[in-house]
């Protein structure tokens, strides 16, 4: 048995270290370490609640809008207000713009380059993948970066800039959209749709959205036009490397729900386990800090009562990340969780076949690119330029609120308590806090820690490639994780 420390673990957002016990050519035990602490929850203490809107997007440069939306929801909840329909639609568009761009960045820049490693040089697909996905120099980045940047012109128009906008507010959005701007927004989406259809999928978005089973997907991938697309290439690799057998975690999935239109989420909230979707019970969320570098670890606390007191000398601590649990259980969050909770037939079939794993996490993300772009077109058309985007709001001196939504990487929650007009407590649980949590007081491993068990190690490997696929399949965001 030998303990191996892997870091800096890059092509994830932020800093990550993974420690492994390796035995008989496979991972026998794993510890996931978030090595950086900044302390946003401490910073926010004593501030005016509305100032959270300037601070929280800066928790994360890749989930910046998601942080803004969660904060706006939490404050709106504390204020007891509803945003006008236009504000809701504009917020959805800005959030979708970020979430989809993140999915794209993950696939092209973070995840795929690992298949260009020399260990794969004898695979039949190697030459093509190396040309296309070599880090920094591959042809795929040259195609993707301009498409992503042009898609993000939507941020320029609706959010001023990305990351770190203030256009998302508890009362709606600060940037009204005119009739002619609806046309321009549709143009931006049209251009992005073309990239997805020509390069990523080699097929219409509707065809991807309508894939309804694992068998369907397999048949789709066999067709010539599809095989040559980037998704086709990934499916070929996934097949040849058995990525569906890699990185299974808990198969217990959670989604907070996202993209509300008139009170109804496009992707619903809930919890999936053993083929059953049950309602989410937010009151059962508790954060355990028994293995974190955090004080006050006597018992797990709901984020409304949560405390954050860092201490690098805690005896059993090995990470700055807390360990959130749902009713005491470890759950996985992300696009795969969102789509199984929402009951997409393709994801139901894939999970039925092989559970949560490297392949299925990636497929779910790409599926969302198709599903959400189609929806963005309807949101733009539904905007009524003559109606308001923002309702004036006021903050009570004493209040409590929660903002729960889905970022690209999964469930994001902000919990806020206000006293004498100031923030008394602000607690954040980010998607990767769920996925990359440490052990809890009962010894339950976090989701990634579980997913790493049994990962195969090749002869002489310093930084096992299977571990890299598994870690990156979660699309972790470490700066959000600890905040």
């Amino acid at each position: 048995m030998s303990r191996r420390i892997i870091g800096p673990f890059n092509r994830v957002e932020g800093d990550l270290e993974v420690q492994l016990d390796i035995e008989d050519g496979q991972v026998n035990d794993a510890w996931v370490v978030s090595p950086m602490y900044r302390g946003f929850e401490q910073m926010l203490h004593g501030k005016k609640p509305t100032d959270a809107m300037s601070y929280v997007p800066r928790i994360c440069g890749i989930c910046s809008v998601a942080q803004s939306v969660a904060a706006a929801y939490a404050i709106a909840d504390a204020q007891g207000i509803q945003v006008p329909k236009n504000g809701e639609l504009a917020t959805n568009l800005i959030l979708a713009n970020e979430n989809l761009s993140d999915h794209l960045t993950h696939f092209y820049m973070f995840f795929m380059p690992d298949f260009t490693r020399e260990v794969y040089q004898h695979e039949p697909w190697y030459a093509g993948v190396k040309m296309r996905f070599t880090a920094v120099k591959g042809t795929a980045a040259k195609d993707m970066l301009p498409a992503r940047a042009q898609f993000m012109h939507m941020m320029g128009m609706l959010a001023g800039k990305w990351p770190h906008t203030l256009s998302i507010q508890p009362g709606g959005t600060s940037r009204a959209i005119t009739a002619i701007e609806k046309v321009r927004l549709l143009g931006i989406i049209y251009q992005f749709r073309s990239f997805l259809e020509n390069t990523l999928f080699g097929d219409k978005l509707e065809s991807i959205a309508n894939l309804s089973s694992a068998k369907d997907l397999q048949a789709w991938a066999m067709q010539d036009a599809h095989r040559k697309s980037d998704l086709g290439l990934f499916l070929e690799i996934a097949d040849s490397l058995n990525l569906a057998d890699m990185g299974n975690a808990t198969d217990h999935f959670m989604s907070f729900g996202v993209y509300p239109v008139a009170g109804k989420n496009l992707f619903k909230a809930g919890v999936w386990k053993d083929d059953i979707v049950s309602p989410l019970q937010p009151e059962t969320i508790k954060e355990d800090v028994s293995h974190s570098w955090m004080k006050n670890g006597d018992k797990p606390k709901h984020p409304h009562e949560g405390v954050t007191i860092p201490d690098p000398d805690m005896k059993d601590g090995y990470t700055w990340c807390k360990a959130p649990r749902l009713g005491g259980d470890v759950v996985e969050v992300g696009a795969l969780a969102r789509q199984i909770v929402n009951g997409h037939p393709l994801i139901q079939s894939l999970i039925g076949q092989s559970g949560g794993n490297v392949r299925n996490r990636v497929v779910a993300r790409l599926l969302e690119l198709a599903l959400v772009v189609i929806e963005m077109e309807t949101w733009v058309k539904a905007i009524r330029p003559t109606e308001p985007f923002y309702h004036l709001t006021s903050m009570p001196d004493e209040a409590e609120g929660a903002g729960m939504m889905e970022a690209a990487r999964g469930s994001l929650g902000h919990w806020l308590r206000v006293k004498n007009g100031r923030i008394l407590n602000y607690q954040i649980i980010a998607p990767t806090t769920w996925n990359f949590a440490p052990r809890d007081a009962h010894g339950q491993l976090g989701a990634l820690e579980q997913a790493l068990l049994g990962a195969p190690i090749r002869e002489g490997e310093e930084t096992p490639v299977s571990v890299q696929h598994i870690v990156r399949s979660f699309d972790p965001c470490m700066v959000c994780t600890v905040h």
């Binding site: 302390g39 203490h45 203030l166």
Partner: protein, 335 residues
């Protein structure tokens, strides 16, 4: 390859948003910009293939002088806490505080570049009680010093270049790196706070689309209103150094065009304005922060005069989220 410049990019106490913003570069894209400038990436946390030991090998080789380091970029603050141990950010896989790595590597670099306000001055990570004891590479807020000290000069005999901004505009970074690569960047190109003058010698106010409202002091009262945001909404675009309204973000944006205040994110200490970000502090009804280089008495006099002369169109439109009154049309033929 031999005459390419080697660039190492590290991240510490920040959000990674300056890298994400960099990826918004267009014509050429971010990677194209680096290629055009003749810059070779030794390693970048979001872009490079190398993970784990192959990264620490590169870092050790640079420290030992085996690999030449032309440009060191740090994104994110230097994290010194707790109690100056740097334990709030240990570089993964090394068991060493990141601040020690940054200090050691800075000594090897021809140019040291702080990317973003965090790396330059401490930035948002230093907000509130500054729980992680964050500072900049060569500044702690407005005070010179920071991690590397007042007298630090990199091997090219130049202080740390502070590409401040939260985040940085992609082209503030690509332009500055290209200027460095061309050998055209000297201390003359830096302002008093170490920022590239190419963008910092301008004001956010320049090119503001709400200028007509500003001229007549027709002010917005709530988010989504079209009027000038200086009087009530906390906008400090008339004092903030940057070219956001002439260069534009994500194709066509800026904070002000997005309907919210400029919060002066290129300045040290922007993270603690001393008042609510989106509310203008006033004394006797007059905003405290007045436009840069403008005598106060003149501003007050001109403001009250222009307020008295505000056309109805601007008064109405300033507090609406769409144009309620269009500009009147002047015909050559008199009726």
């Amino acid at each position: 390859m031999t005459n390419k410049l080697n660039l190492l990019w590290l991240q510490s106490g920040g959000c990674g948003g300056c890298t994400m913003s960099l990826l918004n570069a267009e014509s050429p894209d971010a990677l194209g910009c680096l290629d055009m400038a003749g810059i070779h990436l030794l390693w970048h946390p979001s872009l490079s293939l190398e993970t784990g030991q192959s990264v620490t090998n590169i870092l050790h080789a640079i420290s030992a002088g085996e690999i030449k380091l032309d440009i060191l970029c740090l994104e994110g603050s230097v994290v010194r806490g707790p109690n100056n141990t740097g334990k709030f950010h240990m570089l993964a896989g090394t068991g060493e505080p990141m601040m020690h790595w940054v200090e050691g590597l800075s000594a090897q670099a021809e140019y040291v570049v702080a990317v973003g306000t965090c790396a330059a001055y401490g930035g948002i990570t230093a907000a509130g009680g500054n729980p992680s004891d964050a500072c900049g590479m060569q500044y702690d807020g407005e005070k010179k010093g920071g991690l590397l000290g007042v007298d630090f000069r990199s091997r090219a005999n130049i202080p740390v270049v502070n590409i401040a901004g939260c985040p940085t505009h992609p082209n503030w970074v690509t332009d500055t790196l290209a200027e460095i690569a061309m050998g055209d960047f000297t201390e003359v190109n830096m302002d008093y706070l170490g920022r590239p003058r190419s963008y910092a010698d301008q004001l956010v106010h320049h090119g503001c689309t709400r200028n007509e409202f500003y001229e007549f002091k027709a002010s917005a009262e709530k988010p989504s209103d079209l009027g000038c945001m200086m009087e009530h909404m906390g906008c400090v675009g008339t004092q903030a150094h940057a070219d956001c309204n002439t260069r534009l973000w994500n194709g066509e944006g800026s904070c002000i065009r997005g309907g919210y205040a400029c919060i002066n994110c290129t300045a040290p200490g922007f993270e603690e304005p001393g008042h609510t970000f989106t509310q203008t502090p006033k004394i006797a009804g007059i905003p405290i922060g007045l436009p840069t280089d403008m005598p106060k008495a003149w501003f007050v006099a001109l403001a009250s005069l222009s307020k008295a002369a505000t056309p109805e169109r601007l008064k109405k439109n300033a507090v609406a989220d769409h144009v309620e009154i269009a500009p009147s049309i002047h015909l050559k033929s008199k009726k």
